[in-house]
């Protein structure tokens, strides 16, 4: 073992010994020949003849030894360094292309891995499932409900044979009163097994124990990390202290760590389902509030679990027919991951597809560059081969360059990935991905990057190396070595690569273009009002009604309405406010729905959205009256049962009938407290349609009723303003507390900001990333076309010189080269457009408001590509035209 090391470092000694050994042999032979009677000169001649080439034998001896491999490797690396340095521009472009591909793939894979494959820090989360109830009469993707009543939950918990553990929880608003005023937090009741279910230990204190929440036990609660940090500055001394929550003193027993967002609340209360336990007392009979999360027993499929729960709920439905169950329904069990990530998965898969294309383009580019180089170096390779380099050696030498390139690209790619990921994390929408997700480069991702690099090396390096060596080498040396016209050996392969690159890039660019159009359409939906000048503030008065079992002194509906009216008048009086209104929700995203019954019409499953508002609502949102009248101040004051409906309502339910004076009952009111049960509302007016169910979906029927008919604790104050809405928020808060210090402003801001956060952020994320990929792809293709055309022109120097010597004009030479490039580009565009047209329906879910075969987008992409492609060909073409025929002909 030490032998080869010694020989490696004492190369001179080794060489001398090899020489001495072989010379000894020769001299012995000469001696023997002389002894057999030949003259010294003849003996030497014969001995030499018999020995063959001394250098060849030496080389073979060297190759027989192990250190030879290392020496060759070192040589190859050295040589690769030198030859890449000589051709710096090529090396730079190749490394850049590969690094872009590797970096982009790594970033996308990181996000995908962290969001889809491994998002939660929770125990055994692959087996955590949620339970949906589907109405079989509704479209297949509509979920009728995923909340259950307490009897339903208990039935599922006690009768199922498919779950190991099952957790129930529901959210509620928790009003927290300290000295200054009242604030609202999102709280949740969770069955006491909820925390051991997820398996994340508390940061401080303890979880709920099975006894917590039973009647007669002390009131306790737990808090999440964010609330602890923002409201209590991370002070650990608050552990064990008592807080007034929803009017009851409660002791803080535990704080959860940062990477925990189970049950989506800021603080948690223990839910015991025994008789009379707090948290089970609702003002309504059988409200379906419990969200169910369960762990599948080992080996049970989602379908089997669904069938089991389905049987339980159908038994319940048979025993208690009523509003809770649709005529025909079925249960679907899906994973918690699916529930949380949902549609965002599609966006990520689209990105992965886009980025794979980018990687393919990058590889194609580098392969093309290497092929072009190999063809220019044919002669050099032939010379090496005839000087005794073996094929294996030549392949290794060429491969050495690609390995070096890939190594550099891998390094650059990792850097790019690191910073790219930081950038992406900054723009990624937090909404659709689980909050616990930590997106970072992890070992698996790094391995993926390395795998990509190695694969790229093999694809790009080995193919040209084999290609260069496969043919008869000795023949090449006698050719011009640069390839004469028609002797452009790898023309077809390289043209094919360019065409493929163009086609892939077209797919990317068209996808990005469609997203851009879709996004533009989305942000320019006609809202009917100016979201930048509209302020909203949700105001909550008392405890959430679920938690407020005992009626307090405020429970006269009119009195509550009076509070909101007072707030509205004060907001209206603020300088900078034009009009102010009260509602339950605001367009275009909000709105509650209800089944309706129209007086005198057979009972059908009709539905409408309902908003409860003040008379100023229509003016504030700029809604125009079409027929009848709007709500009046006296309607509000006396809580009259009248309704204004939109056009969609009239179209859907009345057709050509006169909508005025029709009477409608909103069935949802029958199930709620503090609402008029069994009341019919008379239609008094019709207003114009406006977006009320998201920016994309068609307008749904909606009715507007006086807000004073109910005693809800929770209203929206909206105002159109002459100034930036945000600057008014402190004043609004002050006015609210001036009327009642127990009221809290929960969300507030301008509707524009709200839309930017809620409606635009995910499309914008897709748009930005896909556009970035498309831009990179376009740049890569530009480089690809340019380098191929430049090599092409270099190879044809002689031919072009000959043409010019025979009288070809500059213009015709330029046209010839351009035409050659254009042919490739056009073919690529054609294929790309066809492929895109075939693939584009996969994008349909991502893009709204524009047809996926939008001819404008396709047209613009094709034109951009023709322009970019021609620009890439222009420089090589003009260079060709500048050749001096004399020099070109002598060129060699």
């Amino acid at each position: 073992m030490t032998g080869w090391l010694r020989r490696l470092f004492h190369k001179r000694v080794t060489e001398e010994r090899l020489d001495a050994e072989l010379r000894f042999h020769l001299e012995q032979r000469v001696k023997d020949f002389i002894a057999s009677g030949l003259s010294p000169a003849e003996a030497r001649r014969r001995a030499n003849l018999r020995f063959g080439g001394l250098e060849q034998v030496k080389e073979n001896c060297r190759e027989a030894r192990f250190e030879h491999y290392i020496q060759d490797l070192l040589h190859d690396i050295q040589y690769a360094f030198r030859s890449l340095y000589k051709d710096r521009r090529f090396a730079f472009v190749a490394v850049l292309a590969l690094a872009l591909g590797i970096g982009a793939t790594t970033v996308t894979f990181s996000v995908l891995y962290n969001v889809v494959v491994d998002p939660f820090p929770y125990r055994d989360f692959q087996h955590a499932v949620v339970v949906d109830l589907h109405d079989l009469a509704a479209p297949p993707h509509d979920i009728a409900r995923y909340h259950y009543t307490i009897p339903e939950f208990l039935a599922i918990r006690d009768q199922n044979r498919v779950f190991d553990d099952i957790v129930g929880n529901y959210q509620l608003n928790v009003l927290y009163r300290d000295g200054k005023g009242t604030r609202r937090f999102l709280g949740g009741y969770v069955t006491t097994n909820g925390f051991s279910f997820l398996g994340v230990p508390p940061l401080l204190g303890r979880y709920f124990a099975p006894g917590d929440g039973k009647p007669g036990t002390p009131y306790v609660f737990m808090m999440n990390y964010r609330l602890w940090q923002t409201e209590f500055q991370g002070n650990p001394k608050i552990m064990g202290q008592t807080f007034i929550l929803n009017g009851k003193p409660r002791t803080l027993i535990g704080i959860m760590p940062q990477r925990f967002n189970g049950y989506g609340s800021s603080l948690w209360l223990p839910l015991d389902l025994g008789l009379g336990a707090e948290g089970t007392v609702f003002p309504v009979k059988d409200p379906d509030v419990i969200w169910v999360c369960a762990r599948l027993r080992k080996g049970v499929s989602l379908q089997a679990a669904a069938a089991d729960v389905d049987a339980i709920l159908h038994r319940l439905a048979q025993a208690n027919p009523g509003e809770l169950y649709p005529q025909r329904f079925k249960i679907v069990v899906r994973t918690l991951l699916d529930f949380v990530v949902g549609d965002f998965k599609e966006t990520l898969y689209a990105l992965l597809a886009a980025v794979s294309m980018l990687l393919l383009i990058a590889c194609g580019n580098v392969a093309n560059l290497l092929l072009a180089r190999a063809s220019v170096r044919e002669r050099e390779i032939a010379v090496r081969a005839s000087l005794g380099a073996s094929r294996g050696r030549l392949i290794r030498q060429l491969l050495g360059e690609s390995v070096l390139l890939a190594g550099a690209a891998c390094f650059a790619g990792c850097l790019l990935a690191y910073f790219g990921l930081k950038g992406l994390v900054a723009i990624i929408p937090r909404g659709p991905i689980p909050e616990e997700t930590v997106i970072g480069l992890n070992p698996a991702v790094l391995l993926f990057a390395l795998g990509t690099a190695v694969l790229t090396t093999l694809i790009c390096g080995l193919a040209p190396a084999l290609h260069a060596v496969r043919r008869n080498l000795s023949l090449r040396m006698f050719g011009s070595g640069k390839g004469t016209a028609g002797g452009f050996h790898h023309g077809n392969l390289r043209s094919g690569l360019v065409i493929a690159e163009v086609a892939l890039s077209i797919v990317l660019l068209t996808g990005a273009g469609l997203m851009m159009r879709g996004f533009f359409a989305l942000t320019h939906v006609e809202l009917g009002f100016d979201p930048a000048r509209t302020l909203y503030a949700r105001v909550t008065r008392a405890a959430d009604f679920y938690d407020n079992a005992a009626p307090s002194e405020l429970e006269v509906p009119g009195k509550k309405a009076l509070f909101f009216e007072q707030v509205r008048k004060r907001v209206q009086a603020l300088p900078g406010v034009l009009t102010a209104a009260i509602s339950l929700d605001f367009p275009p995203l909000g709105g509650a729905g209800s089944e309706i019954t129209v007086s005198g019409k057979p009972s059908q499953q009709w539905e409408s959205m309902v908003d409860l508002c003040s008379e100023t609502y229509f003016q504030t949102l700029g809604l125009r009256l079409l027929r009848g009248r709007l709500l009046s101040e006296s309607d509000i004051d006396s809580a009259r049962h009248v309704a204004v409906v939109n056009q969609a309502f009239v179209r859907t339910y009345f057709g050509s009938e006169d909508p005025l004076s029709q009477k409608i009952k909103f069935n949802v009111f029958d199930q709620l407290p503090e609402t008029p049960h069994g009341a019919y509302f008379e239609v008094v007016g019709v207003i114009t349609d406006f977006k009320n169910r998201g920016l994309v979906a068609p307008v749904r029927p909606e009715a507007f009723l006086p807000h004073s008919i109910t005693g809800f604790d929770d209203r929206m104050i909206m105002a159109t303003t002459a100034v930036e809405p945000k600057s008014l928020l402190p004043s609004v808060q002050r006015e609210v507390w001036a009327v009642d210090s127990n009221a809290a402003v929960t969300h507030s801001g301008s509707i524009k900001d709200f839309l930017a956060e809620e409606a635009y952020i995910q499309p914008r994320f897709s748009l930005i990333t896909i556009s970035a990929f498309a831009g990179m792809g376009l740049a890569l293709v530009l480089i690809g076309i340019f380098s191929v055309m430049a090599y092409h022109v270099a190879l044809r120097t002689q031919e072009i010189g000959l043409r010019m010597a025979l009288g070809a004009q500059h213009g015709s030479v330029v046209a010839m080269v351009l035409w050659q490039g254009l042919r490739l580009i056009c073919l690529g565009i054609l294929i790309g457009v066809l492929v895109t047209a075939g693939l584009v329906h996969f994008l349909a879910g991502q893009i709204a408001g524009v047809s996926v075969t939008d001819p404008l987008t396709f047209g613009v992409v094709v034109i951009v590509f023709l322009g970019v492609g021609l620009a890439a060909c222009l420089q090589p073409a003009r260079r060709a035209a500048r050749f001096d025929p004399l020099i070109a002909l002598r060129y060699e």
């Binding site: 032998g3 050994e21 072989l22 000894f24 020995f51 063959g52 034998v57 001896c61 027989a64 192990f66």
Partner: protein
């Protein structure tokens, strides 16, 4: 005529070298002479195969080399068999015997 001398069969040269070296320390020239002599001038070992072969066998650890003086007082590289080389030789000889038996069997089969 020299032309009629047969080049050593591919793959058997290693075995022949190991066998010759097994008799005791010997240099390259003597190996080629010995093979030629023992085979009664039937085999001729070309230098272009002999020396790479020797270096390969040394690299594998089957031969050991030492610079020593010859009987005429010149320095030459003498090869000796190592333990691994001895094992290798016997393995190759067993293989060869089975091979030649099998070939002989086939050739001696009546039609």
């Amino acid at each position: 005529m020299e032309q009629e001398k047969v080049e050593v069969l591919k793959g058997t040269l290693d075995m022949l070298i190991l066998k010759v070296v097994a008799f005791g320390p010997i240099h390259g020239y003597a190996i080629s002479q010995r093979i030629q002599q023992i085979s009664r001038d039937f085999f001729q070992v070309p230098e272009g195969s002999l020396y790479p072969g020797l270096h390969r066998l040394e690299d594998r650890g089957w031969l050991q080399a030492k610079w020593q003086e010859t009987e005429t007082g010149r320095e030459a590289k003498f090869y000796t068999l190592t333990r691994a080389g001895r094992k290798r030789l016997s393995a190759e000889m067993v293989n060869w015997e089975r091979l030649s038996e099998a070939v002989a069997l086939i050739l001696s089969t009546a039609e």
